[in-house]
Protein backbone atom coordinates (compact mmCIF):
# COMPACT_ATOMS: atom_id res chain seq x y z
CA UNK A 1 0.00 0.00 0.00
CA UNK A 2 1.38 3.38 -0.93
CA UNK A 3 0.57 5.95 1.73
CA UNK A 4 2.24 8.99 0.26
CA UNK A 5 4.14 9.91 -2.83
CA UNK A 6 7.31 11.99 -2.97
CA UNK A 7 6.25 15.59 -3.39
CA UNK A 8 8.87 18.03 -2.20
CA UNK A 9 11.90 15.80 -1.84
CA UNK A 10 11.54 16.19 1.92
CA UNK A 11 8.91 13.53 2.36
CA UNK A 12 9.17 9.82 2.92
CA UNK A 13 7.23 7.16 1.01
CA UNK A 14 5.76 4.31 3.05
CA UNK A 15 5.05 0.71 2.07
CA UNK A 16 2.75 -0.87 4.63
CA UNK A 17 2.14 -4.63 4.83
CA UNK A 18 0.54 -6.70 7.60
CA UNK A 19 3.67 -7.27 9.61
CA UNK A 20 6.14 -4.70 8.36
CA UNK A 21 6.44 -1.06 7.40
CA UNK A 22 9.06 0.01 4.87
CA UNK A 23 10.03 3.70 5.03
CA UNK A 24 11.71 5.02 1.89
CA UNK A 25 13.66 7.97 3.24
CA UNK A 26 14.02 11.21 1.24
CA UNK A 27 17.37 12.54 -0.03
CA UNK A 28 18.17 14.80 2.94
CA UNK A 29 17.50 13.99 6.59
CA UNK A 30 17.89 16.83 9.05
CA UNK A 31 15.96 17.86 12.14
CA UNK A 32 13.22 19.56 10.11
CA UNK A 33 12.61 16.48 7.95
CA UNK A 34 13.08 13.78 10.60
CA UNK A 35 10.47 15.42 12.83
CA UNK A 36 7.82 14.88 10.13
CA UNK A 37 8.95 11.32 9.41
CA UNK A 38 8.87 10.43 13.12
CA UNK A 39 5.30 11.71 13.46
CA UNK A 40 4.13 9.97 10.29
CA UNK A 41 5.82 6.69 11.20
CA UNK A 42 4.32 6.66 14.69
CA UNK A 43 0.88 7.37 13.25
CA UNK A 44 1.27 4.42 10.88
CA UNK A 45 2.48 2.08 13.63
CA UNK A 46 -0.08 3.14 16.20
CA UNK A 47 -2.97 0.89 15.18
CA UNK A 48 -1.07 -1.89 13.46
CA UNK A 49 0.69 -4.97 14.79
CA UNK A 50 3.90 -4.32 12.90
CA UNK A 51 6.78 -6.66 13.74
CA UNK A 52 9.42 -5.04 11.61
CA UNK A 53 10.19 -1.45 10.70
CA UNK A 54 12.66 -1.04 7.83
CA UNK A 55 14.28 2.23 6.73
CA UNK A 56 15.39 2.39 3.10
CA UNK A 57 18.46 4.65 2.74
CA UNK A 58 18.81 4.17 -1.03
CA UNK A 59 17.98 7.81 -1.86
CA UNK A 60 19.67 9.43 1.14
CA UNK A 61 22.69 11.61 0.37
CA UNK A 62 22.68 13.81 3.49
CA UNK A 63 21.99 12.97 7.12
CA UNK A 64 22.93 14.58 10.42
CA UNK A 65 22.43 13.27 13.96
CA UNK A 66 18.69 13.89 13.77
CA UNK A 67 18.55 10.75 11.58
CA UNK A 68 20.16 8.83 14.43
CA UNK A 69 17.51 10.29 16.74
CA UNK A 70 14.82 9.05 14.34
CA UNK A 71 16.29 5.51 14.31
CA UNK A 72 16.80 5.47 18.09
CA UNK A 73 13.26 6.63 18.70
CA UNK A 74 11.92 4.01 16.29
CA UNK A 75 13.98 1.32 18.00
CA UNK A 76 12.52 2.25 21.43
CA UNK A 77 9.00 2.26 19.99
CA UNK A 78 9.40 -1.16 18.34
CA UNK A 79 11.20 -2.71 21.31
CA UNK A 80 8.28 -1.80 23.60
CA UNK A 81 5.99 -3.64 21.19
CA UNK A 82 8.20 -6.67 20.60
CA UNK A 83 9.37 -5.63 17.13
CA UNK A 84 12.65 -4.76 15.44
CA UNK A 85 14.20 -2.03 13.27
CA UNK A 86 16.45 -2.54 10.24
CA UNK A 87 18.13 -0.33 7.64
CA UNK A 88 19.12 -1.09 4.07
CA UNK A 89 20.54 0.66 1.01
CA UNK A 90 23.24 2.29 3.18
CA UNK A 91 26.17 3.75 1.19
CA UNK A 92 29.74 4.28 2.44
CA UNK A 93 29.07 7.76 3.84
CA UNK A 94 25.84 6.77 5.61
CA UNK A 95 27.52 3.63 6.93
CA UNK A 96 30.26 5.82 8.45
CA UNK A 97 27.64 8.00 10.20
CA UNK A 98 25.69 5.01 11.48
CA UNK A 99 28.87 3.30 12.69
CA UNK A 100 30.14 6.40 14.54
CA UNK A 101 26.75 6.72 16.25
CA UNK A 102 26.85 3.15 17.61
CA UNK A 103 23.27 2.56 16.40
CA UNK A 104 24.25 -0.83 14.91
CA UNK A 105 24.28 -2.17 18.47
CA UNK A 106 20.49 -2.13 18.41
CA UNK A 107 19.44 -2.22 14.76
CA UNK A 108 20.35 -4.50 11.82
CA UNK A 109 21.77 -3.53 8.47
CA UNK A 110 20.36 -5.60 5.61
CA UNK A 111 22.91 -5.89 2.81
Amino acid sequence: MKIREFQTGEEALYDVEDEYVLVHLPSEIDDHVSRHIREETEQLLQHRKVKRLIFDFTNVNFMDSSGIGLLLNSYRWMRERGGSVSVFGVDRRMNRLLTISGIYQVIDCIS
Partner: protein, 149 residues
Protein backbone atom coordinates in the same frame (compact mmCIF):
# COMPACT_ATOMS: atom_id res chain seq x y z
CA UNK B 1 34.59 41.64 -7.62
CA UNK B 2 36.48 38.67 -9.02
CA UNK B 3 37.57 35.84 -6.80
CA UNK B 4 40.30 33.37 -7.50
CA UNK B 5 40.87 29.91 -6.19
CA UNK B 6 43.40 30.04 -3.38
CA UNK B 7 42.47 33.56 -2.30
CA UNK B 8 41.45 34.12 1.32
CA UNK B 9 37.77 34.87 1.66
CA UNK B 10 35.00 35.39 4.21
CA UNK B 11 31.22 35.46 4.40
CA UNK B 12 28.45 36.28 6.87
CA UNK B 13 24.86 35.03 6.82
CA UNK B 14 21.93 35.89 9.08
CA UNK B 15 18.60 34.10 9.07
CA UNK B 16 15.53 33.42 11.24
CA UNK B 17 15.61 30.31 13.40
CA UNK B 18 13.00 28.39 11.38
CA UNK B 19 13.88 24.71 11.06
CA UNK B 20 13.38 24.89 7.28
CA UNK B 21 16.52 27.10 7.22
CA UNK B 22 18.74 24.19 8.36
CA UNK B 23 19.13 23.01 4.77
CA UNK B 24 19.54 26.60 3.49
CA UNK B 25 22.41 27.21 5.94
CA UNK B 26 24.42 24.09 5.05
CA UNK B 27 23.91 24.61 1.32
CA UNK B 28 25.24 28.19 1.58
CA UNK B 29 28.34 27.10 3.51
CA UNK B 30 28.80 24.21 1.05
CA UNK B 31 28.71 26.68 -1.85
CA UNK B 32 31.15 29.01 -0.05
CA UNK B 33 33.78 26.26 0.33
CA UNK B 34 33.35 24.93 -3.22
CA UNK B 35 36.28 27.10 -4.35
CA UNK B 36 38.55 25.15 -2.01
CA UNK B 37 37.92 22.12 -4.24
CA UNK B 38 36.94 19.86 -1.32
CA UNK B 39 36.55 16.11 -1.67
CA UNK B 40 32.97 14.85 -1.45
CA UNK B 41 33.77 13.60 2.05
CA UNK B 42 35.16 16.98 3.20
CA UNK B 43 32.12 18.77 1.80
CA UNK B 44 29.70 16.39 3.51
CA UNK B 45 31.64 16.63 6.79
CA UNK B 46 31.29 20.43 6.83
CA UNK B 47 27.62 20.32 5.84
CA UNK B 48 26.87 17.82 8.61
CA UNK B 49 28.73 19.88 11.26
CA UNK B 50 26.97 23.10 10.16
CA UNK B 51 23.61 21.34 10.23
CA UNK B 52 24.28 20.14 13.81
CA UNK B 53 25.28 23.59 15.10
CA UNK B 54 22.39 25.37 13.35
CA UNK B 55 19.91 22.79 14.65
CA UNK B 56 21.23 23.33 18.19
CA UNK B 57 20.77 27.11 17.82
CA UNK B 58 17.19 26.65 16.58
CA UNK B 59 16.07 23.87 18.94
CA UNK B 60 18.02 24.62 22.11
CA UNK B 61 19.08 28.26 21.75
CA UNK B 62 15.74 29.72 20.74
CA UNK B 63 13.51 26.82 21.85
CA UNK B 64 10.04 27.72 20.60
CA UNK B 65 10.71 31.36 19.76
CA UNK B 66 12.14 32.88 16.57
CA UNK B 67 15.53 34.56 16.82
CA UNK B 68 18.47 35.25 14.55
CA UNK B 69 21.15 32.69 13.73
CA UNK B 70 24.43 34.12 12.43
CA UNK B 71 27.01 32.15 10.43
CA UNK B 72 30.44 33.59 9.75
CA UNK B 73 32.88 31.58 7.68
CA UNK B 74 36.38 32.37 6.53
CA UNK B 75 38.93 30.66 4.34
CA UNK B 76 42.62 31.19 5.03
CA UNK B 77 44.89 29.08 2.87
CA UNK B 78 43.64 25.53 3.25
CA UNK B 79 41.81 26.20 6.51
CA UNK B 80 38.11 26.85 6.93
CA UNK B 81 36.82 28.52 10.10
CA UNK B 82 33.07 28.55 10.62
CA UNK B 83 31.24 30.23 13.51
CA UNK B 84 27.57 29.62 14.28
CA UNK B 85 26.13 32.01 16.85
CA UNK B 86 22.76 32.62 18.49
CA UNK B 87 21.59 35.00 21.20
CA UNK B 88 19.27 32.45 22.78
CA UNK B 89 19.09 30.85 26.22
CA UNK B 90 22.72 29.68 26.33
CA UNK B 91 24.12 26.53 27.96
CA UNK B 92 24.62 26.30 31.73
CA UNK B 93 26.91 23.25 31.69
CA UNK B 94 28.84 23.07 28.40
CA UNK B 95 30.80 19.95 29.40
CA UNK B 96 27.60 18.02 30.13
CA UNK B 97 25.94 19.29 26.93
CA UNK B 98 28.91 17.97 24.94
CA UNK B 99 28.82 14.48 26.45
CA UNK B 100 27.92 11.84 23.84
CA UNK B 101 24.26 10.80 24.06
CA UNK B 102 23.36 13.67 26.41
CA UNK B 103 20.27 15.42 25.15
CA UNK B 104 18.36 18.18 26.86
CA UNK B 105 15.36 17.10 24.82
CA UNK B 106 15.48 13.30 24.77
CA UNK B 107 11.70 13.03 25.05
CA UNK B 108 11.46 14.67 21.61
CA UNK B 109 13.45 11.86 20.02
CA UNK B 110 16.87 13.51 19.81
CA UNK B 111 19.99 11.42 19.81
CA UNK B 112 22.24 13.70 21.88
CA UNK B 113 24.98 13.28 19.28
CA UNK B 114 25.13 16.77 17.80
CA UNK B 115 28.42 17.84 19.41
CA UNK B 116 29.91 14.36 18.89
CA UNK B 117 29.24 14.66 15.15
CA UNK B 118 30.75 18.18 15.05
CA UNK B 119 33.88 16.84 16.77
CA UNK B 120 34.05 13.79 14.49
CA UNK B 121 33.75 15.71 11.23
CA UNK B 122 35.74 18.88 11.93
CA UNK B 123 39.35 19.29 13.15
CA UNK B 124 38.60 21.58 16.09
CA UNK B 125 35.47 22.57 18.00
CA UNK B 126 35.11 25.32 20.57
CA UNK B 127 31.87 26.22 22.38
CA UNK B 128 31.39 29.51 24.19
CA UNK B 129 28.15 30.01 26.05
CA UNK B 130 26.54 31.29 29.19
CA UNK B 131 22.93 31.24 30.34
CA UNK B 132 20.99 34.16 28.91
CA UNK B 133 23.78 35.24 26.57
CA UNK B 134 23.54 32.80 23.70
CA UNK B 135 25.98 30.30 22.26
CA UNK B 136 28.87 30.61 19.84
CA UNK B 137 30.30 27.49 18.21
CA UNK B 138 33.63 27.82 16.37
CA UNK B 139 34.87 24.98 14.18
CA UNK B 140 37.88 24.65 11.90
CA UNK B 141 38.89 22.17 9.24
CA UNK B 142 41.95 21.92 7.03
CA UNK B 143 41.22 20.76 3.48
CA UNK B 144 43.29 18.63 1.17
CA UNK B 145 45.18 16.77 3.89
CA UNK B 146 45.46 13.64 1.82
CA UNK B 147 46.90 15.50 -1.15
CA UNK B 148 49.53 17.30 0.89
CA UNK B 149 50.58 14.83 3.56
Amino acid sequence: METYQGQDNRMRLEFDSHSCNESFARVVVGAFIARMDPTMEELEDVKTAVSEAVTNAIIHGYENSIGTVVIEASISGRQLTVIIADTGVGIADIRKAMEPLYSGKEAEGRSGMGFSFMEAFMDTLEVQSEPGNGTRVTMTKIFGRRAYE
